[in-house]
Each structure stands twice: as structure tokens, then as C-alpha cells.
Symmetry: C2
Subunit: 254 residues, 2 copies
């Protein structure tokens, strides 16, 4: 299925799972939707933290169609999360009930965009093999504040065979607007992760700690962590692992 066909399955709620491994080579993005009153603070937060929050597109107040996809942002992701006053409120399959005309939407680069390149480079993706949502973790890596937004970085983890870690670095490095190279390699405890089998988002993946190295990439779930502290009246995001699939191929694939 191409991106449009896949998004139609999400729109009709025939598919509601993770987008990892779907429409490989196409750019996938995280989503953050906020009332315009918070938009300046959030855009500045992204500019000051480009590693976890690389801005792919900003959709102005009330705009529902992105320029990077022939999509309706309110229905064409598989799952959304709604936060109210800083607390997770509910997970929904579309935004029809909650949409407001003053909503500004930020599309933020996603590491799923380079997963096909990792596979092409001979690097297995255990979360795909094990049918799991990629595991994600809160860390102790501090972010730069902007207005009401602050907090620590969230990372996604992929276990990479020891001899292929350099290769994974090189490949992801080229995908600058999709988080680029890893922020940490090898020692989860050094970035505040106590138990690699207890992710804060997504699902645990089993791997052999002697043969494989845990590699951590900055993650677009980071704003969801920042929202807990900022407490905007309402903030909508993709559900972790459930992205917008755009109609644009990443230039690294062309």
C-alpha cells in the first residue's frame, strides 16, 4: 500500500497499529497540536532542541491539510493521545470530537524514517521482528527551556549487533531532520534508564546483551514529556509509535 492508501485505512479505522515498517522510504512524522496561545513557546522549544524536535512543517491555526501529505490531520494517523492540563486524558482514533479552529499543528521528524535504511544496511529491527511498538524511555538528559516548555529528553531504543553499531551511526547520521545519529550508545543507566525491559512508552523487546548493544535515538515523544510540566489546557499528540505517514520520500532514499 502507498501512503494515501495506508492513511485511508487509518481514517476508516481498519488499521490502528504502529506505523513502523509501513510505507518504507517515506518520511514519517510525530504530531503535536496545541491552541495558538501556546504555539510561540512550543516553536521556540523545538528550535532550541532540534535533536528531539526537528520541525518538518508547521500548520497554522485551523489548518487541517499538511503540505507534505494529501491528508486530513484529524483522521489520518492510526492513534492520538489527548493531554489536558498536563495529564494524559485519553487515547482516540480520530480528532473529530475535539478539534478547535485555533489549533496549530507541528510535524516533527521521526526515526521510523530511517528504519528502512537500517534494514538495507543489514541491521535487524527487533521490534519489527517481535511485532512490538519500538521501546521508548524517559531520560535524565535535560532540554533547553522555552516559555512554559521544559523537561528531559525521551529516546527510542534499538538493539544493534555489536559489530554493526558503527554502521547504524553512519546511516542514521544522514537523516538529520529525522533525529539523525544516536544521542547515546551502550549504557542505559548513564542516561537515567534503570531497566531496559521497562520502557516508559512502547513495548519491551528481548535481546542478547552480550551480542547486541542498546542504541538510543532522540525521540519525538519528547514533547509529551514536556507537556506534563507545561500543563497546557489541551495538547494532542500521536500515540507513541503511531505516526503521520507523509507523501514525501526522504531524499536519502532517492
Amino acid at each position: 500500500m502507498n501512503p494515501l492508501e495506508t492513511r485511508m485505512k487509518f481514517r476508516n479505522q481498519e488499521l490502528t497499529g504502529t506505523t513502523s515498517g509501513l510505507c518504507e522510504q517515506y518520511i514519517q512524522t510525530n504530531l503535536v497540536t496545541l491552541p495558538k496561545a501556546y504555539a510561540f513557546d512550543f516553536l521556540l522549544f523545538c528550535m532550541r532542541n532540534p535533536k528531539p524536535c526537528p520541525v518538518v512543517e508547521v500548520m497554522e491555526a485551523g489548518v487541517t491539510k499538511p503540505s507534505t501529505a494529501d491528508a486530513d490531520i484529524r483522521t489520518d494517523l492510526p492513534r492520538y493521545r489527548i493531554y489536558r492540563n498536563g495529564f494524559f486524558s485519553e487515547e482516540v482514533l480520530d480528532l473529530n470530537e475535539v478539534w478547535q479552529d485555533d489549533f496549530v499543528t507541528f510535524l516533527i521528524g521521526c526515526s521510523f524514517t530511517f528504519e528502512q535504511a537500517l534494514l538495507d544496511g543489514g541491521i535487524p529491527l527487533l521490534h519489527q521482528d517481535q511485532n512490538k511498538v519500538v521501546p521508548m524511555f524517559d531520560t535524565n538528559i535535560p532540554l533547553k527551556e522555552a516559555g512554559i516548555f521544559k523537561g528531559n529528553m525521551v529516546v527510542s531504543m534499538r538493539a544493534v549487533p555489536n559489530h554493526l553499531v558503527d554502521q547504524a551511526l553512519k546511516i542514521s547520521h544522514q537523516f538529520e531532520s529525522s533525529h539523525g545519529e544516536p544521542v547515546h550508545i551502550g549504557s542505559p543507566e548513564q542516561i537515567g534508564i534503570d531497566d531496559i525491559q521497562q520502557p516508559d512508552y512502547g513495548e519491551a523487546v528481548t535481546f542478547d546483551r552480550d551480542e547486541m548493544t542498546p542504541v538510543f535515538w532522540a525521540c519525538g515523544v519528547t514533547p509529551q514529556n514536556a507537556a506534563l510540566q507545561a500543563q497546557p489546557s489541551i495538547m494532542i499528540t500521536h500515540a507513541p509509535g503511531h505516526m503521520l505517514i507523509t507523501d514525501e520520500k526522504d531524499p536519502n532514499y532517492s
Copy 2:
């Protein structure tokens, strides 16, 4: 004089002229100050038009000290312009009378930053030789809209000896966050400039049209043009040619 000493002369209003040629090698910036209500639209305008509006720093609401200079933004530029409802209202030597706690300030890269590099590369600067404020022109080069902000690009013009045009390109290309390489070379009429001796900002500079080529760089006065259309209730800028001198050397000089 170093940047701090120079800014003190501006603060005490002992100096009130152009900053071209002062504190060479230090980064100079354009200034745009707006009420926070307009800040999201303007930041997005800058992101969508990075050539004329490369953001060096954003100072959040009420902040008066930039991180790039031990300065007070209200007093340490030689001259400011105030626009009200889209019309030029007055030119002032400080902002003490008009400052509001909700003012957000944007510092935007400036071509003065690479003027010393041009001189070092053997390229004469006629506006400095002739004691003029660099000539600047409105053009027909359209910008990408963001919220209320739209309009055409403003450019600065330097006449370069014909055989040194390539050299000027190469040098300025390295100064990416200070407008970088030129946006046009040679034919002012092609970008909507009717009379090279009638600049819209700054002062006319005389040069030999046979020996020298007019070279046009994107200019941080562009937001002043956009303000005419956007009509924010109040918007403050540096006076054309009268910049903030920061305490940071451009890395190309180190």
C-alpha cells in the same frame, strides 16, 4: 574599542551612527521587537524565510539582556525605529519610553558580520569609504507568508570590482547565519530595482558601472517591509544600518 565599550557609547548617546566597520569580526544583528501576541507568526515567518531572516537569538517576553551580548537591548543600539499599525512612526535613540513587559525580541543575522572578511579578501567597501549607510532596496522577490507577515525581500547592495565578484560570493557563502551568499548579481531591474542611485533605506553610493558589479545580499530590514503589510499595533526595529554589536566573534574569523 571593543563591543562593550562601543555599546556604552551608544547607551550614553555619544555615538549614534552606523555600525558598519565597527568592532570588525564580531557578529552584528538586526533587531525586531514585537508584543508576544505576534511572536508566533513572526518566528514562523523567519523559519520560512531563513535567507533574509536567519534567527540568531530569540529573547522571550520581557527579557532585555541577550545571551550573545552583555547588553541592554533597550539602549545599546545606536538608533531604533518604531512602527505603529504598520506605519513608520518615529526614530529614537533608546527604547526607555516605549518598552513593554510583553515584548519579544528577535536578533537576526546581518551582512555587516562578513564585511571585514570581504575587506580581508581584497574587496573594497565603497559605503565605508564614502562614509555612507549601506544602500538597501525593496525588491520584487516574494517571501513565504506566515500568519500576518508577508511581503517582498529587502536587499543590501555592495558594488564589487568585476574580477572580484566570485571572491565575494565565496567569502560571504561561509557566513550562513549572516545571510550567506548573494541573492542576485548584476541586474537590479530583474529584482525590481529601478534606480540604483535611489535606495529605499540607507544612502546612495557612487561607483563605476563599467568596472564594478552591483551585488545584492538578503537584508534584515526585510521585516520592516513585512510590517507595513502586517500592521502590528507596535513593532520596533534597529534603524537600517544601526545594529546590535554582540560579544561573539563569528567562527569564520577565529
